[in-house]
């Protein structure tokens, strides 16, 4: 298992993504690596851009763990409460010219991962996602 703590995350999106992607658990993936690379980008962007209104004490903790059959990523931040599971999916019935340009990231994560759970505890958003590993 690897635990990462990123203090003062504003403006560090790319560096945070790069660091998470170098954990042993993610580097060792084969077929699932591309999906994990995608969801890490989506979730880090979401947290850095929207979690904190006051960036004085902003941080992000990330935990990656791996078993033979599953990779688990846990994202923990102290920002405003935000339950991504309650976010409305994009309205695909709308004509393309009326579609929202943003808001696709969380939806993509939910579609790409096998499980996605959220809790708000001890003043922290805790999002846990898992992906089964094919053999």
């Amino acid at each position: 298992m690897t635990q990462l703590h990123f203090p003062h995350i504003q403006g560090k999106t790319i560096e945070i993504i790069e660091t998470i992607l170098q954990t042993d658990e993610i580097v060792s993936l084969a077929e699932e690596w591309a999906v994990i690379r995608l969801v890490v980008e989506e979730l880090v962007i979401n947290i850095v851009d929207y979690a904190y209104h006051d960036d004085a004490n902003d941080y992000l903790d990330v935990e990656t763990s791996l078993t033979e059959n599953r990779i688990t990523l846990r994202f923990r931040d102290g920002g405003v409460p935000f339950n991504p599971l309650e976010q409305a999916p994009p309205d695909m019935s709308l004509p393309m010219r009326q579609r929202q340009i943003g808001g696709l990231g969380i939806f993509m994560v939910s579609k790409k991962m096998d499980t996605m759970t959220y809790e708000y505890t001890n003043n922290e958003n805790v999002l846990t996602i898992t992906k089964d590993i094919k053999h």
């Binding site: 790319i14 993504i17 790069e18 393309m96 993509m108 579609k111």
Partner: protein
């Protein structure tokens, strides 16, 4: 995660965009800015070459939606050599009907599955190089343990 720089070339009323291996937070905003310079011109077709594309995130998808919605003359949007995984990502968000998908002779080179894995390995190696170059920018702590119980 340094994004490959993406260039936009104009030939008459067509824009050619070689997407390279990734369209992500690292390069999509730059591409959108470049495309923005053409949105009021008489552009009839935008050709996105996805021959080498293995990573497409939502911020990259925004660029395509931007091209569809904001270009004044509603150009035809063509996607060349789109890999299945990239197509599936576009399909998840319900925008495949925005594009005309075509393949050229380059899509026939080598067994597709092997080629895809080779490109992913290249991207993984590049990520490591970028991390080594950048990792002093972020202060972080790493605790290593055994595998999960």
């Amino acid at each position: 995660m340094i994004g490959n720089e993406i260039f936009v070339e104009q030939t008459g009323s067509t824009l050619h965009v070689d997407l390279g291996f990734q369209l992500s937070v690292a390069n999509a905003p730059d591409l959108q800015e470049k495309l923005n310079a053409y949105k009021d011109q008489d552009i009839k077709e935008i050709v996105f070459d996805a021959t080498d594309l293995v990573h497409l995130s939502s911020i990259g998808i925004r660029v395509f939606v931007f091209a569809f919605q904001k270009f004044k003359h509603e150009p035809k949007i063509v996607f060349v050599n789109c890999a299945k995984a990239i197509y599936d990502t576009l399909d998840i968000v319900g925008i495949t009907h925005m594009f005309t998908f075509v393949e050229d002779e380059r899509s026939q080179a080598g067994p597709p599955e092997n080629e895809w894995q080779e490109k992913l390995e290249e991207l993984k190696n590049k990520d490591l190089e970028d991390f080594k170059a950048h990792n002093d920018v972020v202060v972080y702590q790493m605790k290593m343990g055994g595998t999960e119980e």
